[in-house]
């Protein structure tokens, strides 16, 4: 039985009565022929209305404990795992090939076409999922404060002490530092960009010998659905392990993200788009089309510059190993500055613009930003009347700035052509990037459409800087060498709250307190670094094996682990109020609590069974999270460990809301310097 859910209607088709239905079989396993060179086979059978897709793949692509296999003549006996049911694999794809069908608009938007969800049988987990959603929806609709939290985690434990450390309850999580295994499966997340001829262009974690055959498989899977089902595959979801494979098929480029980290389909798809947008931002869609036109054998992987590969790599790390809420919030982080001073900055910018009309005539400068800190928090915006850039495009630009901050190449001035895909995907804008303070990590970015405007923008930038430097208040914020700290959670009358994110929908900006974590209490993310020695080994390993990845290690393992945990908590909160495809469960206001209960140990192995963990160093976890979405704002918060009182949390949430609303003009950039 195949369930096909359409956007406007729900139908159930029987296999025998409709052409649209099909059985989809997955037969994963090892290949028998060579260990040195893994081969991969895809079997396709399309006769008599049934369609079989079986994949024989090295274990690198498919986690063996997630699925097991039926007997197949291609399997090695010792690697054959018994396997009974396929019901936990869900494949969904779009039916219509809107982007490929002529006479239809190109750039087919996934949201416009009817999604079809294939479930291979009536699975139990599907039912559980449904009932969970029903319960959640019921709870939400009951009242504004529904005092029945949804309970996640591993059951209740005894009383506990409130602490501000953030334990890790996601026991299955394995970080980038778990280096015991050499296979690609050791990574929780991987990103693949391949050409539509099946040639690899970029992968985050590389192993060329394995990636090249994998590129062939990814290509075949995507094309299988196009050829046989007239459909675009969107995702393959292994329900019992949470593994997801999300596909994005654009002209000439196929992007696939594999993740175990529990993001929703929508978030992973947005990330696919983000990688695709990066390619456009460095090439323009026009060049991409020109490169592949009439020669689909083009090897874009060797064409991309070193810096492109590095930028893609740093974006992938941002999306998998860092706390980067910008994409799922679809917002930019604002740097809180006293209202009076921010207004003064904007006024000075406009004044300087006015006085320099001879140097930069109107039309030269298109847009500008003053950014502060490693995470590119916006301090000021310069923009023309009636125009705004898309958040998505600005995020790409800021990723570039981030990368250069990381590289510490910021004593130089940069002039970088960058294409903004949403604004105009066929041409470049030019960005002048200048560091104002190395310690403060403050940066000025000026955008122009003119290729030769570098010296004009440089001159203007220098003069603007001189002017801003004259005001001691402004200088202190932007140019001084004091590291800018932002605000702390302690500044806000919100007891028991560990960390929060507040997004102002109107401004498409968000704020959050600086990250404060206690290194001493930092619980080791399982299977990684449990003592200094190992840490050194890991560092050494990274030094030898992953030199490419070393740049993101500068922050230190503690901060990194902390960020990964924070990301997981916020991801669960976000997922709890959005459905898999990203739409809000309720159109208006939603409030939801999540209670994470559990025990953690210093020596949990990455796939350790939680029942066997009572022995050593048990520490109880009670963490409560809350998400509150309205048309005007979104508030996500995480409590300190040891809190399970919804009343206390919601009253702190109200305090945060009041505080944010009271200081709105300080926290967010309302208009900017508009010329």
């Amino acid at each position: 039985m195949v369930n096909i859910s359409n956007s406007d209607e729900h139908k159930t088709f029987n296999n025998n009565t409709t052409n649209k239905s099909g059985t989809i079989r997955f037969i994963p396993g090892f290949n028998s022929i060579s260990k040195a060179t893994p081969t991969v086979s895809i079997a396709l059978n399309n006769s008599r209305g049934t369609t079989d897709l079986s994949i024989t793949a090295p274990s690198d692509i498919i986690n063996n404990n997630s699925i097991s296999s039926t007997s197949s003549h291609r399997l090695l006996p010792e690697s054959t795992k018994s396997y009974s049911s396929l019901r936990d694999i869900e494949i969904s794809f779009d039916e219509s090939l809107s982007s490929r069908v002529p006479n239809k608009t190109s750039n087919g938007n996934i949201n416009e076409v009817a999604p079809i969800e294939f479930t291979t049988s009536n699975s139990i987990s599907q039912n559980e999922h449904n009932s969970y959603q029903e319960i959640l929806t019921d709870l939400l609709s009951e009242s504004f404060y529904s005092y029945t939290p949804s309970v996640c985690g591993m059951g209740r434990c005894g009383p506990s002490v409130v602490s501000n450390e953030l334990p890790n309850i996601f026991n299955k999580s394995e970080t980038l530092l778990s280096v015991n295994k050499q296979r690609l499966t050791r990574f929780n997340k991987n990103f693949f960009i391949i050409s539509d001829a099946g040639k690899p262009i970029f992968t985050m974690h590389r192993d060329d010998k394995k990636i090249i055959p994998l590129a062939g498989i990814i290509n075949t899977i995507v094309n299988y659905f196009q050829v046989n089902q007239q459909a675009e595959i969107k995702t393959i979801h292994f329900r019992n392990t949470g593994q997801k494979f999300v596909f994005l098929n654009k002209e000439h480029i196929i992007i696939m993200i594999h993740s175990n980290l529990g993001e929703s389909f929508k978030i992973l798809q947005d990330q696919c788009y983000f990688l695709y947008s990066y390619l456009i931002s460095t090439l323009t869609s026009k060049s991409l089309e020109r490169l592949f036109r009439n020669r689909s054998n083009f090897d874009l992987g060797t064409f991309l510059a070193q810096s492109d590969i590095e930028n893609l790599n740093s974006i992938c790390h941002l999306l998998s190993n860092n706390f980067y809420p910008d994409i799922f919030l679809n917002a930019l982080q604002s740097n809180p500055i006293e209202k009076r001073i921010r207004n003064k900055i904007h006024k000075e910018i406009l004044q300087e613009l006015h006085e320099n009309r001879d140097i930069i005539p109107r039309g030269t400068l298109l847009y500008g930003f003053l950014l502060i800190g490693e995470d590119t928090k916006m301090a000021a915006v310069i923009r023309p009347q009636g125009h705004t850039l898309y958040t998505h495009d600005i995020q790409l630009l800021f990723c570039l700035v981030r990368r250069h901050l990381h590289l510490n190449t910021m004593d130089r001035e940069l002039w970088i052509p960058i294409c903004f895909p949403k604004f105009n995907s066929s041409g470049f804008l030019y960005s002048y990037i200048k560091t104002l303070s190395l310690k403060n990590k403050s940066v000025m970015v000026l955008l122009s459409a003119q290729k030769d405007a570098f010296f004009k923008l440089k001159l203007f930038g220098d003069r603007l800087l001189t002017r801003l430097g004259k005001d001691s208040h402004i200088a202190k914020i932007i140019i001084s060498d004091n590291p800018c700290t932002g605000f702390s959670i302690k500044d806000i009358p919100a007891p028991l709250i560990h960390h929060f994110i507040f997004k102002s929908t109107k401004n498409a900006q968000y704020i959050m307190p600086i990250m404060e974590y206690n290194i001493k209490y930092q619980d080791v993310i399982e299977n990684t670094v449990s003592c200094n020695d190992e840490s050194e080994n890991n560092q050494k390993y990274l030094g030898n094996q992953q030199k490419d990845d070393i740049h993101f290690m500068e922050d230190g393992i503690d901060l990194l682990n902390y960020q990964i945990k924070l990301q997981r908590y916020y991801m669960e909160l976000h997922n709890s109020v959005t459905s898999e495809d990203g739409s809000k469960l309720q159109s208006r206001s939603v409030i939801n609590f999540i209670q994470w209960d559990g025990i953690t140990s210093k020596n949990i192995s990455s796939y350790g069974d939680i029942d066997n963990l009572q022995s050593v160093n048990n520490r109880r976890i009670h963490i409560m999270g809350m998400v509150w979405c309205t048309p005007h704002f979104e508030l996500y918060l995480i409590s300190n460990n040891g809190v399970s009182d919804k009343g206390a949390i919601s009253s702190s949430a109200k305090n945060i809301l009041r505080w944010c609303q009271k200081h709105e003009q300080r926290l967010f950039i309302q208009n900017g310097a508009i010329f």
């Binding site: 060179t37 396709l44 059978n45 399309n46 003549h73 020109r290 490169l291 054998n297 109107r362 490419d548």
Partner: protein
Amino acid sequence: MSTRKKNILKVIILGDSGVGKTSLMHRYVNNKYSQQYKATIGADFLTKEVDVDDKVATMQVWDTAGQERFQSLGVAFYRGADCCVLVYDVTNTKSFENIKTWRDEFLVHANVSSPETFPFVILGNKIDCEENKKVVNTKSAQELAQSLGNVPLFFTSAKDAINVDNAFEEIARNALQQNQNDADAFEDDFNDAINIQLDGEPNSCSC
């Protein structure tokens, strides 16, 4: 992370079922041969580093299934190939007659930049077998290769490892050449500045 220096060459092997495509590939990549016959289902993907005339590249070999029922994905498999290898069995006349069909089939689906110059290589496999079983004579094979535009022709045996390395070296050379030709045909032009008038109508960015 460094950029990949080596080009990837996509090589696709076509031919009737049972002519020895998979055996040839495994002889070349792994230097192994198995007497046992297993039909390829769909396609196999193998990689091999090649070094021809001081040029290095990574060959991505797409070993397709010869059986007709697996052909629905042809388009996907053929797209963007750098070289196409056509294999027949010297003991099987039909497989030889089908070489031209396979070539046409490939050209229809592959969407190559110039069909006239696209590199093919023909392999007559199984020359290890007894003389009386050989039904495709050398002369007609040479004539066919000639008529298809001087396509390089090799008589091989995957079983006895005859001529396989030579053949694949030629394949790699042709693929590299094809790749190079395509790269040369492309002229860099990244003059894609946008013309923007701020005071005029909003240029697609009003939102």
